[in-house]
Symmetry: C2
Subunit: 210 residues, 2 copies
């Protein structure tokens, strides 16, 4: 697949959205779509759609548009979703349970291998077929199974130290729900920050005319 050497993160972050819309189009039986129609669905401009997708190869044909199934498969490949890479969860409170029970890691390119917690009340339990292990055994597990990423759903206070330990254990990526910035330069960190998001909504409402 031809790909521009440097693709901006803004474009990369739109790829999963393109894929979502193509999945929906596929579900309703659409086999092709124009850049104009795809742009309208996604509230982008047709030119932006073409520019975004051109970063990764030639998918469209003038006068025809995009083949939905081909573009969908191509974007999944570009994102690396057929991996699968392996993930572990650190922190089996409510959010850890919710992710284990309800979130499809496999659809996002990962298989979930284990969960860890420090609380004796949850250690040893099994949540959605995932065994909860003692955080004390983290190093041993990492050395045996070499997970690619860790999902951090533990409290903010211990998060930086755990992140550091994970990186020392070869973790390449951290999906960080802890509402704290992790200054780990040796791993890729993707943050989901509930409070930052809701505060932003608060600001937008305050400054809007609604």
């Amino acid at each position: 697949m031809e790909q521009k050497s440097i693709v901006s993160m803004a474009v990369v972050r739109r790829l999963p959205r393109y894929l979502r819309h193509l999945d929906e189009l596929h579900k309703i039986g659409a086999d092709k779509i124009s850049s104009t129609a795809l742009a309208a669905r996604m509230e982008l401009t047709a030119s932006q759609v073409r520019q975004d997708l051109n970063c990764f190869g030639c998918f469209g044909q003038q006068g025809y548009g995009y083949n939905v199934e081909f573009l969908r498969q191509s974007l999944a490949d570009i994102l690396g979703l057929s991996g699968p890479r392996s993930a572990i969860i650190i922190g089996m409170g409510n959010l850890g349970h919710t992710l284990c029970n309800n979130f499809s890691f496999s659809r996002c390119g990962f298989s979930l291998g284990a969960a860890f917690d420090a609380n004796p009340a949850v250690i040893g339990s099994v949540v959605a077929k995932i065994r909860v292990l003692d955080i004390k055994d983290l190093d041993k597990y990492c050395s045996a199974h070499k997970p690619d990423i860790a999902v951090l759903t533990l409290p903010a206070a211990p998060a930086p130290a755990i992140a550091h330990r994970l990186v020392q254990n070869g973790i390449k990526g951290i999906w960080n729900f802890t509402n704290t910035d992790l200054n780990e330069t040796r791993a890729l960190v993707e943050n989901i920050n509930f409070a930052d998001s809701l505060m932003t909504l608060c600001y937008r409402i305050k400054t809007s005319n609604l």
Copy 2:
């Protein structure tokens, strides 16, 4: 407070992060901080910090830096966190429960008034002092209590229709966890999209040299 008329969303989205770091500085008893030191904590440049904060007023003093407590209070005011505005949750599955039980809405400028679900098994229950009401009573509740925002933690399929109904009921903002794009132009939508985020991490790992 003097404020530039148009502040870019990229700057707005950094405000909660500034506030978080100032909260931490306050906790450890720091009373002032230079733009250079604040920038280092946040992995920004000193010039970016000064530019960002200058969008909202004059907070720093050359040779002194920023007064932590004053800047912290000012950013909280700018974000509108002392509101409080009112919120409701739609969808009391695992994620709805997790947010009710573990997330501090008040710290983000909101008070949570009620939760709604269609499942008779949860309707009538009380989660973290929040009563779960029947989704059938949504219009009646909105007309009596006029909530400002709705948190959508329901499945993707019914989300667009519910969002539309909420907007017709005067909802100004939607905090959207449903992994679907809501084309509601009459409300401000802030998305938290787990799958998009994890797919982005997948891409970044695939294309990195880690």
